[in-house]
Amino acid sequence: MQENVLLQMRQIEKSFPGVRALGGVDFTLRKGEIHALMGENGAGKSTLIKILTGVYHMDSGEVRVEGEKVSIHSPQDAQNKGISTVYQEITLCPNITVAENMFIGREKGIWINHKEREKRADEILGKLGIPARAKQQLGSCSLAVQQMVAIARAVDMQCKVLILDEPTSSLDDKEVKMLFDLMRDLKSRGVGIIFVTHFLEQVYEVSDRITVLRNGELVGEYLTEELPQVELVSKMIGKELEELSSMGEGDDKNAEAGEIFYEAEGLSSSETYPFNFNIRKGEVNGFTGLLGSGRSESVRAIFGADKVGGGSVKIKGKPVKITKPIDAMKNGIGYLAEDRKRDGIIAELSVRENIILALQVMNGMFKPISRSEAEAFADEYIKVLNIKTASRETPVGSLSGGNQQKVILARWLLTHPDYLILDEPTRGIDVGTKLEIQKLVLKLAEEGVSVTFISSEVEEMLRTCSRLIVMRDKHIVGELKGSDLNQTQVMKTIAGGEA
């Protein structure tokens, strides 16, 4: 068995100022296995990965590759030792060709043989069954193919250990399947794959072994087939599953809510076709559909985030004009954007500043929230939403993803919105926080706030929404409520005639 071991990390410790990120974690990867690394946000997954790839340096511990003790100084160093990473965000250059991307920075000397290079690239792509051509511009490939090219690049660099960090979060089902086929192919070639993801089903579909971390400690290593999904979840969040099951599915929490709060007729933006939409006071509804179906674009149109094309909007029956975000905010609408990093957090500013931002904007430039008031607000929401941060003055960029999301939620809650739009509030965050956010949504609805909820996970939407608007190819193709609110019906509607 020892011979099979490809990578061994033993007693890895790493602390950041004020936080112990990893306290003596072991991790073993064998040849030709897909090993899922699981844990909530802040469990230490990314820290462990970053130590392995040379981004961070461990405080103590030992790393062995094929039995040999190594110290990894930099990402370049890691690559030379056969450890390659493909990150969640594609880190290649979209505006040059596939072949150039595969060989960039790897050639010796300054002379480049384009022909030779393209031939070699096509060879590798063919071998791995990746549907891309060497001469193609990378940007013209789909995201999945781009990701595969990144993997092909790693594989061609003779990698023994391949780390896939959330590779599937922006792919659709078909693309995920393609990626998994590639992973299985690599596995049969003896590559060890570390697979980091939040999607539980995917772990069960593709992985052989699971290592679970919690709060920087090792919970254990398990064979995937011997660990039921429910148990995995409880190991990750460290509490019993009563809470999970206590949230009933599909009971009509808020179906018969109050009068219509928001109503749009023929609303369109530069990114959408005209559509009709309304939401009642205290109602939770959702937009669902595949990625790119127009669900995000629709809510962006409601908030005035994109250039508004036309249509009429009424709030509480009164016509209003919403052409930019501030108009929506003044009408009591809050919007948590899909892309937390790009559209949500102001990374270098403190938790306090991030929390008060929207309220401050609504108050206007000449009515600043005083420091003491801001501190009180921040402390309150850190407590209410259970935000894990060293202090309210910590830059928000240094928090874990789930906690960043809570900060943005706090930002909007502080404005006391009548209508809150949450676009993928639970993407890329851990199970525990997901539940907290779902509960919060229901609680808000009880208090009379209207919520529009978007999530890639249909289950989550079924749990929270009393009405689902289904979109396909930028058009609303159906509206489900009551007894129609079940997984099969949603899938059928999404798939449409072809199903």
Partner: protein, 364 residues
């Protein structure tokens, strides 16, 4: 707290560490040199009677803080532009020449020079400076042109515009009021430009206290997309930062003109733009925008001036000064770079770890 010491060391001064340490190093250098040569005249401050018969402070330190005034004022405005737009305005020198020319033009109209007229002249200078700043700001905020490219236009033609304002002449203005602005107000031993810097700094402080410009500017600079989705009008914020810089330009131009008692559109605040950008950088502000500290930039301006005066005091010829300045600045900037900071942080970390281990061993 266990690591209290380390935290103070690393985070206590934060952004201001580099500028404060730089200025201390420069002063220390002068002190050591003074002790070796037994000549501490660099540090002497005397109360002397000037040409107008006023008792005024004099000495190298005074000429440092006095001479840095224009730079300090410009650096304050430049900090805001840098933070909001992630780029710099390289036309401040030329714009100051325009503002100065306007100031002289208005002062020169009519015969007598009254306080009212000087105030009017200053307002006119402000107007024209803000006008050109708005031009720059529009190019940057509305047309999304790189700040350096956008301001290159005014950098190129600004001094010609200044030339036209006074019909090509370099008129002199002599009046007690003007010299009161440029050097000393009778009865006040502190140079007026220094007082103006203090007033400007206080105004900035008050503006930041009574408005949320600081938060909005930083938000726009760090993440424009998120700022927009939170309802911040980033075009307006960027434009505003340029307008505020415009006011600073007018103040600096007025000080410059009053100091000399004449306007020379070719030489007034020549090459000041690069020093201004440098002051912002030495102040620990990211030239890519985002978080900023005005106080850092002000200290940065004094660092540059201290360096210049130190070199002059060492009898370095004015042609050589620039080369020496460049060397010192390279050192400062490299020390302040994130790479060195990380190394330093690691070094400090190791040192404390060692100490801790020693302490543990001692306890055993």
């Amino acid at each position: 707290m266990k690591n209290g010491k380390r935290n103070i060391f690393k985070g206590g001064l934060g952004q201001l560490t580099i500028p404060i340490v730089s200025i201390c190093l420069l002063l220390l250098f002068n002190l050591i040199k003074g002790l070796i040569t037994k000549d501490l005249s660099f540090f002497s401050i005397e109360l002397v009677r000037n040409n107008f018969g006023n008792m005024v402070l004099s000495g190298n330190l005074i000429s440092i803080i006095n001479g840095a005034s224009e730079l300090a004022v410009l650096a304050m405005g430049m900090t805001l532009v840098t933070a909001a737009c992630g780029g710099q305005d390289i036309s401040v020198g030329a714009a100051a020449a325009i503002a100065g020319s306007m100031f002289v033009k208005v002062v020169k109209t009519g015969s007598s020079i009254s306080g009212m007229k000087v105030l009017l002249a200053f307002l006119a200078a402000c107007m024209i400076a803000c006008l050109f700043a708005a031009f720059n700001g529009t190019l940057v905020a509305v047309f999304k042109i790189q700040p350096m490219i956008a301001t290159l236009i005014l950098y190129t033609c600004g001094r010609s515009i200044a030339y036209w304002i006074n019909g090509g002449a370099t008129p002199t203005v002599s009046s007690p009021i003007i010299s009161g602005i440029g050097s000393f107000i009778p009865g006040v031993p502190i140079p007026t430009p220094v007082i103006i810097v203090v007033v400007m700094a206080i105004i900035f402080k008050l503006v930041f206290h009574f408005t949320s410009i600081e938060l909005f500017t930083q938000s726009v600079g760090i993440n424009g997309s998120a700022a927009r989705l939170n309802g911040i009008n980033s075009t307006f914020i960027k434009l505003l930062s340029f307008i505020i810089l415009g006011v600073c330009v007018a103040v600096a131009g007025t000080i410059g003109v009053s100091r000399l008692g004449l306007i020379n559109h070719e030489t007034l605040l020549l090459d000041v733009e690069m020093d201004t950008i440098l002051a912002v950088a030495i102040g620990g502000n990211s030239l890519g925008g985002g978080k900023f500290k005005i106080s850092g930039s002000i200290i940065g301006a004094y660092v540059i001036q201290t360096l210049t005066i130190t070199l002059y005091a060492m009898k370095v010829s004015s042609t050589d000064v620039k080369a020496f300045k460049a060397i010192v600045i390279i050192i400062l900037v490299v020390i302040g770079s994130p790479v060195v900071k990380t190394w330093f942080g690691k070094f400090v970390g190791k040192y404390f770890k060692k100490n801790k281990q020693l302490a543990v061993k001692g306890a055993e």
